[in-house]
Symmetry: C2
Subunit: 397 residues, 2 copies
């Protein structure tokens, strides 16, 4: 018999997949360049040439048995050391090799971090709007994910709702800043207040509440945005990183968990991640990829296009009448839909070849996400479609 | 609080790790070339140059955003198609793209296959001697692994013991041929009899018993050895493959699950593997690595050294008096220890700089494993140490 749990999961509809299928089919009719596909968070700028050259150099010059040999399950020691040193240098938190666990992207990082600090029956709290894949990551541990309603005025944390939902069952809090889908970066006061509340409640409940900080968009922060380093503010932070966005490398599946060394059990948590891998068959990202990123930890792709696109879209959307919190980073914007039903609004957008994602899947109905990791030229062309959409449907009239 | 289950796992001692640490430390004293380290199953021959050249070509010529972009969670469609076509061509089983799920090596493959076809409380049967990591793979699903005692005369399946242990709780049977640690390849009569028994018992119990066939050593089979393709004999086979040994590529973490298309739920099982990945954060092997192996599915490293080494060791061990079943493949040999306590025997071997692994961890005490994926020159030098060991300790005297 098949595992009932996973068989049931097949019933779930993926809204983004459906949208993507529509975009592909429509692209075949009118040319994909004419479909304004804002559905996918796939980076649109190339990996830096230096990373490509490093991979070629490794392939040309390293002894192949060593280069492609098994790496230890926590990651290649030299890679872990370099990641720790770079974090310490950039953010002042004294990470060491034993605090770093190399993973297959942020997905692997979050899944391991959650398994390390939760027990079946525990609760994990996160904040709307949030990435829909948080549900399977948490479900897989046997814990339960509860989503704190959004503060739709600012998309900072809704502390009143948060405090109400915290309880003795809360094992961990999962945040994502800069945020997918809102594009908002949690401010220093937000992180300070979060840390204070976690300390207070940890004391009250007599157990540590871990903070799992999902930071794949850390390097995509726009001019003038306050972007605090979360781990600096709360000792029991498990930071989950991915090079998918910073190096335009999502298919290569590389990231890490960095456990704040001030967390009492830092080294133990990293070792536990190794044990988790033994059960899930995760066992490390590819050696070549680990070695390549370790040479370029402080390099990014040319990420400026995302800020350019954000400026164009934010200006146009607000001038058309959309209510919208201005993104401080990422390549997403999350305006309020002019219909109560954002699913219906996005469906109507298809008539104008605008592929928009309703906020319902992010725990925030009534909003929609645009992923503007596309060419600026296409963003500009999409404005005409956007204007027609608003005018012909009579929004903001 | 930390997850108790994974914290407890940290208590487990790894015999192989201890041996490896001893070998490294001893290597620092006398030079690693003088330590006869037979402990690790890390391939000793390089990846074929053609694979390296393909990776360089992909890096030089492919559009980087596409090359390094997200791949679908089941694997890159073209890669899955090529894997299926190659299997059909070589083995006559008509696999198609939808039967293939790309994984991070055999570990990822086995962990996914087990999760797809077991429920908590189910039993999975395997045969001694077996790879020790089968325990965490099965434990992680909530099922229970039971090990059928070895037939130490041949290391083929002990069918009497197997039949006794089969029950309504048996959800899956996990085999590994060619076998780590015995080096034995299950013969056609063995696989036929296994298939017959699984069909008979599936009928009796009213549910399918899946066969999970772990085949990372499929390409390392020695002259004259009967090496049947397991899936051909039993329709409900989930074959787990890794390129780690055939291409000397273990650090790059690449393999697949191939579900026999005659299995009623083949395509569904593959889709379920994708859902499992969503929970564990597995999400595909690296794109570059998938694309590289897809160009060389029928190529292997020069694997002949393993047969050369096997011949030397088998001849020497048997002539010294060891009782030993001759390996038909892999790079392992699994002789009977001349002491009842193989742990003690292996500990004594260290005095002669021989690093041997006791069979206890493989569910087969009284035997020891030698991994002869080392240079032939070193194998030859080790014979003197082996002779001294036997003589000075008075074995077979």
């Amino acid at each position: 018999m098949l595992a009932n749990h996973y068989e049931q999961m097949l019933q779930g509809k993926s809204v983004i997949r459906e949208l993507s299928e529509f975009a592909t089919a429509r692209g075949k009719e009118i040319g994909y360049e004419n479909v304004f596909d804002y559905s996918l968070g796939n980076p649109s700028v190339p990996v830096p040439e230096a990373v490509t050259e490093t991979m070629i150099k490794l392939l040309r010059e390293e002894e192949p048995v060593a280069l492609h040999g098994y790496s230890p399950s926590l990651g290649i020691p030299e890679v872990r050391r370099k990641v720790a040193a770079s974090l310490e240098k950039r953010f002042g938190v004294p990470y060491a090799e034993e605090d770093i666990f190399m993973t297959s992207g942020a997905a692997g990082a979050i899944a391991h971090a959650l398994r390390a600090v939760t027990e079946p029956g525990d609760e994990v709290l996160t904040f709307a709007p949030c990435f829909s894949e948080y549900f399977p990551y948490v479900n897989g541990t046997g814990a339960r994910l509860r989503v704190v309603p959004a503060n739709t005025e600012t998309f900072q944390i809704n502390f009143a709702a948060f405090e109400e939902m915290l309880s003795e069952k809360t094992a961990a809090v999962l945040i994502n800043t800069p945020n997918n889908p809102s594009g908002i970066v949690y401010s220093t006061p937000t992180i300070q207040r979060l840390a204070e509340m976690l300390r207070k409640k940890s004391g009250e409940y007599g157990h540590t509440i871990y903070l799992i900080s999902d930071e794949p968009y850390r390097e995509i922060v726009f001019a003038g945005t306050d972007s605090p380093f979360v781990s600096e503010f709360y000792e029991n932070t498990l930071m989950c990183y991915s090079f998918s966005k910073s190096l335009s490398f999502p298919g290569e599946r590389i990231g890490y968990v960095a456990v704040n060394p001030a967390c009492q059990d830092a080294a133990k948590i990293v070792q536990m991640c190794g044990q988790i891998s033994r059960e899930t068959g995760h066992n490390c990202p590819a050696s070549l990829i680990q070695l390549a990123v370790a040479e370029h930890l402080e390099l990014t792709s040319d990420l400026s296009v995302y800020e350019t696109n954000k400026n164009i879209l934010y200006r146009e959307l607000t001038s058309l009448g959309f209510s919208c919190v201005e993104p401080g980073g990422t390549f997403y914007i999350f305006p309020k839909a002019p219909l109560e039903d954002a699913v219906e609004f996005c469906a109507r957008g298809r008539k104008y070849d605008l592929i928009l994602v309703p906020g319902d899947g992010f725990g925030c109905p009534g909003h929609f996400r645009m992923a503007y990791c596309i060419d600026t030229e296409k963003v500009e062309r999409s404005l005409t479609a956007l204007r027609r959409f608003v005018k012909e449907e009579g929004y903001f009239a």
